[in-house]
């Protein structure tokens, strides 16, 4: 199943990175992403498939709040 929670990259050795899954360290293959230490990655079947964009994450949350504020104002 999709692991929805991103994992933080702690160290990198070639195409293998050690990531922290909420306290459990696991090796993941990072061939598919251009990742660096400190990035949060989405992991599937032992591979990181994308890096979480922290700025976008904040923007999305702000967007939720804005939309709802608009509804309040319009109601």
């Amino acid at each position: 199943m999709c692991l929805a929670v991103p994992a933080e990259i702690k160290s990198i050795d070639g195409t293998t990175a050690k990531v922290d899954f909420g306290g459990v360290m696991r090796p993941v293959n990072i061939s598919l992403v251009d990742a660096k230490i400190g990035d949060y990655v989405i992991v599937h079947a032992g591979y990181a498939i994308e890096i979480l964009d922290k700025e976008e994450a904040e923007k999305t949350l702000q967007l939720f709040r804005d939309i709802l504020a608009q509804e309040d104002a319009g109601a």
């Binding site: 929805a4 293959n29 598919l32 591979y47």
Partner: protein, 365 residues
């Protein structure tokens, strides 16, 4: 990520949805979306707001037809080492499952990913076959491993499938009137949002790519409700913190280099054109379909029946919910599964059974 579970915001969204007076049917195609829906009791809340959400063909193990399962079983019976995801172990083929063949002495091992299987082949004299299963989230991992020059005794039984052609099939079959679709966050991570656009343009279906936290799903549904209200049909991206319009180009290139599309059958569906991925002939020595053609051909071409009474096929086309299957929770449970929808952790029957028992929701399990 915790903030994507903010109660106050969720309550507000639900309140807005209720005010809209909706009566709509939506579909998603992802086991993790189904898990979020059921785990947090969102399905019931949405229903109260007039929103019925169905899981379509979004469970890779479930849509894998018996003739494919049977191929893995047959190789194991013939002495080949099989490496497979744990989810596949108990899915019934014609009579047996991988678990059954293992109990009879078959060398079948559970792996977390293809790299484990490649390692296994390096340490082994035997032929090792990895069962390549899953949509665009796992297909690039198989592609990458195949392109990285694995050992000669390693090959892949490639049952990967791609999602957009199945969406086209659902829309063209026209059995279910869909007011909108929630597209899978992590498949979209790979393919981007562009491959869904035809559904909005040609079939007028509003779509939102959504993440997997409760707020992601709620916001996704809210965005769909807005589109429906405004009479629009476009692809919106709620999960922009991970999904880019063009997807992951490295992963797409690996898939393009390793695979060619093929016409394959999905459980519950007829053959869906260009929905399967076949290993390219340049990598033919790692293609189990070619390597073991003699063993596989008779199994592949035989006729198979679905398990008696199982409604998995209809479930995968979004026509039914698990609780509507007469066997659900009676003859069919996770410890006595009749069909694959009760075996896979991404199957709607398994997920429903996990969180609901006797009409009661189990939040802690």
């Amino acid at each position: 990520m915790f903030r994507y579970r903010d109660r106050e915001v969720s309550k507000k969204i639900m309140g807005e949805l209720e005010k809209m007076g909706l009566d709509i049917t939506l579909m998603h195609v992802c086991g993790t979306h189904q898990d979020t829906l059921m785990r947090f009791g969102l399905d019931g809340e949405f229903r109260k707001a007039g929103i019925d959400i169905r899981q379509g063909p979004g469970c890779p193990v479930c849509v894998t037809p018996p003739e494919e399962i049977e191929q893995a079983l047959e190789l194991a019976r013939k002495g080949v080492t099989i490496a497979a995801f744990g989810d596949l172990m108990r899915v019934p083929g014609r009579e047996q499952s991988l678990d059954d063949v293992k109990a009879e002495g078959g060398d079948i091992r559970i792996v977390f990913g293809i790299d484990d299987a490649v390692e296994m082949a390096r340490d082994s004299e035997n032929e090792v076959v990895f069962v390549g299963l899953g949509f665009e989230t796992t297909a690039p991992t198989t592609a990458t491993a195949l392109l990285a020059d694995p050992p000669d005794n390693f090959s892949v039984l490639n049952f990967h499938r791609v999602v957009p052609p199945a969406l086209r099939a659902i829309a063209s079959l026209g059995e279910i009137k869909l007011h909108g679709m929630i597209q899978p966050g992590h498949v979209s991570t790979i393919i981007g949002t562009e491959p869904y656009e035809f559904l909005s343009k040609e079939h007028g279906i509003p779509q939102v790519v959504a993440g997997f936290e409760p707020l992601d799903l709620m916001m996704g549904v809210y965005m769909l409700a807005k589109q429906i209200g405004e009479g629009r049909a476009v692809v919106q991206n709620e999960y922009s913190r991970v999904v880019k319009r063009g997807g992951n180009p490295v992963a797409l290139k690996a898939m393009e280099d390793a695979f060619a599309t093929s016409d394959v059958r999905w459980r519950g569906f007829p053959v869906i054109p260009r929905s399967g991925l076949a290993v390219r002939s340049t990598l033919g020595k790692h293609d189990a379909a070619k390597k073991f053609e003699d063993i596989l051909a008779p199994v592949r071409d035989a006729e198979y029946k679905e398990p008696e009474g199982c409604r998995c096929g209809e479930m995968l086309r979004g026509l039914l919910t698990s609780e509507e299957c007469p066997l659900f929770g009676r003859q069919c449970t996770p410890s006595t599964p009749v069909g694959p929808c009760m075996v896979s952790r991404e199957g709607s029957c398994y997920i429903s059974h996990r969180y609901i028992r006797g009409g009661r929701r189990l939040d802690e399990h």
